[in-house]
Symmetry: C2
Subunit: 437 residues, 2 copies
């Protein structure tokens, strides 16, 4: 059997997971790849106690890996967008195929890197960059290739989903759960990437480009985090038959453009994706032929991510073993590069969703009717309403409303008018609602 040599750069969580999965499942992997996959070179600044590299050549200079003439496939698992970018560029320029799990790198620099790969007649694969072990990249590039994708919506950050799940199940505060997630190792010391949606935005832009056939436009994603979600809103959402999830949503609006947005979202509890809990991920894709499809699994962790990395390695190795040529059959973003079209990304004010509104109103006659009037004047209808009895010691009562679908700038204007009422106390809490039908 032909031998295909792998060079792994980075021996952190995913790097060691990849090493260990290849070692443990080697017989099956080789039988599937139809060749002998050999880890021939590792580039890592330091060893990892989770990973017995044995007699595999290890270089402290990771750039020794792409420079190694024996290596056919370079696996970039160092993360970040500086050294990782240089490394991937070096590998592509050397005519090596590259496999990466680096969502930030693909989201921010994918366009140029894919071009570089094409120029050098090699592939740059990134199944592990989105939703860990879920093969969602290949589903969009291949499995759903018959479809015009209408929209997709994903729980694509496990940390955020863990926090929201705990807040709901145990009625805990955001800060409290975040601290626990950090202690458990689910959240980084600096949790901004996860809880403010930056990580999800990286992943969303990749999914959207694959779905709609457009170059990556990371800077156009609207991004709102979960740090301002209150247990009381989680609870009211429940009472209304909804769950709050941190969703990435990409939607094609015929004749207008693409919505690209990450934000907390109320979802009807009867939807399967509303029941994806803890650190798990799921992506719901609506195609115009297939209808709704859902892909669910572990979105992070050493071995689930390694599962995706190795699936890319197998794919490339199958090509290398089966053919003299190494030409990529499946284009990087699923569409031929010539067919990629810069779609208009709509500003968030033009996005259309339903809304959950929570307003603190004074417990006086007429308070509700004035709010209802403002919404009605704006052409916004109230689909569901909860009005609570006032607590003894409080002068305001919470008023919770679900609206119909409306363009965001219209709800914003209505909210401004509501906040200006003298019977309304403080800011209106507003969370977007998606039916995901």
């Amino acid at each position: 059997m032909k031998r295909v040599n792998i060079g792994i750069c980075g021996l952190g969580t995913v790097g060691s997971g990849t090493f260990n999965v290849i070692r443990r499942n080697l017989d099956q992997i080789n039988a599937r790849a139809q060749c002998d996959i050999v880890i021939s070179h590792i580039g890592a600044r330091r060893d990892n106690p989770n990973c017995d590299t044995g007699d595999v050549k290890v270089s402290r200079d990771i750039f020794a890996v792409p420079a190694d003439p024996e290596v056919h496939i370079v696996v970039e698992l160092i993360g970040g967008t500086t050294v990782a970018k240089e490394l991937v560029e070096a590998a592509l320029r050397q005519g090596k195929h590259v496999v990466t799990a680096n969502k930030a790198l693909i989201a921010e620099f994918g366009n140029e890197l894919f071009s570089l790969a094409a120029e050098h007649d090699v592939t740059l694969s990134y199944e592990a960059a989105v939703a860990g072990g879920i093969p969602i990249i290949s589903a969009l590039r291949e499995g759903l290739s018959a479809n015009k994708i209408e929209w997709l919506a994903g729980i694509i950050n496990g940390t955020g989903n863990f926090i929201l799940t705990e807040m709901r199940d145990k009625k805990r505060e955001f800060d409290d759960v975040l601290a626990e997630a950090q202690a458990l190792g689910y959240a980084e010391a600096d949790p901004t990437f996860d809880v403010e949606g930056i990580d999800a935005a990286h992943k969303l832009v990749i999914l959207a480009s694959l779905a709609f056939g457009m170059p990556l436009q990371y800077d156009k994603v609207f991004c709102e985090g979960i740090s301002r979600i209150k247990p009381v809103d989680v609870e009211y959402a429940n009472q209304l038959g909804y769950r709050i999830k941190h969703l990435g949503v990409a939607r094609h609006i015929e004749g207008k453009g693409i919505e690209l947005r990450v934000h907390p979202t109320l979802i009807p509890e009867s939807r399967l994706i509303a029941n994806v809990d803890g650190v798990m991920n799921a992506v719901l894709v609506k195609g115009n032929a297939v209808g709704p499809t859902l892909f669910y699994g572990a979105g992070a962790g050493a071995e689930p991510t390694a599962s995706a990395v190795v699936s890319d390695i197998v794919r490339v190795a199958r090509n290398l073993a089966g053919k003299a040529s190494s030409l990529a059959m499946v284009p990087s973003l699923g569409f031929s590069e010539r067919a990629l079209q810069d779609e208009t990304i709509l500003p968030i004010t033009e996005a259309e969703t339903a809304y959950y509104l929570r307003v603190s109103v004074e417990d006086k006659p007429g308070a509700l009717s004035r709010i209802a009037q403002i919404l009605s004047d704006a052409g916004i209808s109230i689909e569901a309403l909860i009005q609570k009895e006032p607590h003894e010691d409080e002068e305001t009562v919470p008023l919770i409303m679900l609206t119909n679908r409306v363009v965001e700038k219209r709800i914003n204007a209505a909210i401004e008018s509501i906040e200006a009422l003298d019977t309304v106390d403080g800011d209106v809490v507003r969370i977007r609602v998606e039916s995901l039908k």
Copy 2:
């Protein structure tokens, strides 16, 4: 751009769906396939009013399609295993790539057909054969290729799932819902294939071969239908926190062999797959690296199935357009043919699951303790129990038990002893239980 000619054989539900999806989404499909896909020939005994074939050449003799030198890919959508088999063989022998949605054909004759395809250096693709639009074949062949698959479990017959969902939601009898499903067109006039699990067995054997790397062994699948499920059992399952689903289960038992079985199954309601309702399908796959993954979508219907058929067409067309050679890169069952191993398929008496038991006992002291004693003597423990008050006019009361996991022959022996008790009335109802963790 290179032109790839498609010949479609069969213009029934899936055939017309495939024609219409290609026509409607042609721009996107071509951009993804990196070539011009042209339906150049249709073989159909009669026209289909859902499908305006326009100026496409139509032959009443479907064998004219594989014989047509212009056709590169033959799409077999006539169904059955007689003429369809001849047609696929004719096409492969002519050196045409074949795409089929025919689960019976692949399950029963896949081994020889894959060999024939390899012999003629062409591909035989069958994404649409299992779970309609869900790209589960490619997930197992490619997306999860890093894993040893431990087990998989699927709701892979939409008709059966529709019936069970209706029985649960509306507390209706099996026969009653079946009649409605037939009226709605979900179930065939002869519903045996769907409700007795034959259709699911066809699909399960395909999934299992892909998961475990073994030749197809359709005749080894254990198969039990849903026609004997009673509303009362659906209701008791609910009370215990379970749903009854008609599952196909394939499990690798280290050192022993493979369980391959289709039967009604109690699943904890907290599992995502327990909430897959109506005609929808889902497949849960547990890999040793990725953990549990779930793939959900429409399992039947013209366009969802067409979505899978066209994804295979795009895959083959990409190869044809990108390369001179037509060599298959991905082996038919995901593993190199040499690596396929005949695994032992365990008889159902050796399968291990937990059990739901319903026993009609006389309302007398000691009835329960004698049953408990029999189970205890057999080393079977009772994990949950419901004992109901007797109705006024009845002399027996239902006793419902959930057991621990136990090899089937042991529970069978215990059931025989229980049925022999003079305090027990009639047969014990026994339904398998899977925790799917």
